[in-house]
Symmetry: C2
Subunit: 350 residues, 2 copies
Amino acid sequence: MKRNVKVVIWGFGAMGSGMAKMLLKKKGVDIVGVCARGEKIGKSMYELLGVERGDRPEVIINPNIEEILTSTRPDVCLCATDSYTKEAFPRLKTVLENKVNVISTAEEMSYPQAQDPELAAELDEIAKRNGVSILGTGINPGLMMDLLVLCLTGCMMDVEHIEAKRVNSLSPFGPFVMQEQGVGTTVQEFEEGVKSGKLAGHVGFAESVRMIADGLGWKIDKFEQQMKPIVTEVDRKSPYGFAKAGDVAGVNMTGQGWVDGEVKIDMIHPQQIEPEMVGTQTGDYITIKGTPAIHMANNPEVDGGIGTIAMCVNMIPHIINADPGLKTMIDLPVPRAIMGDFRGQIKNRE
Amino acid sequence: MKRNVKVVIWGFGAMGSGMAKMLLKKKGVDIVGVCARGEKIGKSMYELLGVERGDRPEVIINPNIEEILTSTRPDVCLCATDSYTKEAFPRLKTVLENKVNVISTAEEMSYPQAQDPELAAELDEIAKRNGVSILGTGINPGLMMDLLVLCLTGCMMDVEHIEAKRVNSLSPFGPFVMQEQGVGTTVQEFEEGVKSGKLAGHVGFAESVRMIADGLGWKIDKFEQQMKPIVTEVDRKSPYGFAKAGDVAGVNMTGQGWVDGEVKIDMIHPQQIEPEMVGTQTGDYITIKGTPAIHMANNPEVDGGIGTIAMCVNMIPHIINADPGLKTMIDLPVPRAIMGDFRGQIKNRE
């Protein structure tokens, strides 16, 4: 590929703008358009990011995705707009029908076969008809609690049980995440938020469990998940969060995948502000029973925001290189950081 | 794919026979032929393995690979015969020219581009001409010090320096490995063995370093490796090895990949008998400086023999599914254990 890879970003919150900043430091790739709403419209991407434009062409935030895609003809569109497949679907369809490859940050899109098999089949069909491919990814789901688990089973003759545990700090996150995870609520408010669906907790266990099971060739009979408050015994304060003793400092999400009548996949994901205050060591942990056993730890955990931004950007060459259709992380080569020219990672192109 | 996957195994030492034992426990896959030499010729594979044949057809060890391949028409041939690309080349060529996919355990074949670019190009050309694909893999090179490193960089925006360290015990290994690694020799004998090339040490750093660099898009200016004796201060005894105090208990292999005038990739791989006697904790360790940093540990290390056998068997579906040509671990989807029917992992086949 001689010309630079062309990228459009749809959605310009923490994820979209983070991807833009990362891409601006890379070689052989240009951001040719940004689609966003509200008061960002009409502003310069460079100004919004606080990054020097230099001799790069201006990129003005435009709310009209069709206009952006038809005028710039990008190689890929990074969609950082949703968490759920159903919500993301019409947007993803629009991009695919413009014959543009897609990488989505929507957690459910990391394995849409899990909860929305009809929409997954439809996306696959639309992508194939338009000769492009689509992938959902991120740090979790996408790597730490699913793809990395599978990668480690690659050296195993036999797998008996999998435990994937991600213990992370919510302290770096802003007010929206505090609210969504119930930080600072009373236990009663938390329980009401779970019932009403107001508290999101972690989205992605159903997808991670199904990705692992399909990767190994296990059939999931039953999937369950639980969302419990992490009640603090001491006052905890983070830049955007505060939980007084007796209130909620975060969420403990757990999930189980049942195979042949027993739990074969255990997912454990407590997220809270200031975990160090109560002696909790954050990290990513993968424990696999089988031949041989695996006891992996990564301390501290990979930051969720940075990790998701990096995963989406780093998968750009793989989704451009892929055969048409809906892809998941288990269909494509392993993700890796791109330290050289993006064009060097693109196959068979002009 | 309706019929079972058909596998031929070439080489029936510890690796080849281990793959056979593993395959016999799996669903949807048959061993249809075994090629080996010497006193194994004419014997039953099942008798050699000490495994009940049941109602499976007999497999008699045959020294003639052409005869095996033409009579059985397998989907893949597992070649467990060599460590070096140059030695393996004529054998691999024979299999490819019979239009059979290949997985090789030869360490250098994990990335033959590193030291034998002409042979790598020739293998690629032969494979493409015959419509099949070829892969070299194993635990190391193949996963712990290269592919897993790359997989972890997938969540990184920027990589500054990589250290891959594998601290393993040689105690489970037999007399051949003791001899090859210099266990029990005096320091002087060890140094002479290194000079004469009699001591092999670890084969694969050149391949792992190049795989990592190509994966990230780094250009390696210089590659170096060192092989030093691990001198024991106490007498150490393993089932097949003995090193008295002052003699050699194993080998410390180190290697460096230089990029832009500095060491960016450090490989550290001490192998010895009875490391616990001197307080050495075995394990696989990956430390990556960058954004974010990675500090991964897997304790104890994945057993080298089991890991290599599993990697080769687990990659069977991926190499059958691959486009024709020479493939490496960074071209194919992540390896994973196969707990279901092998046929469920094969795409687009009758």
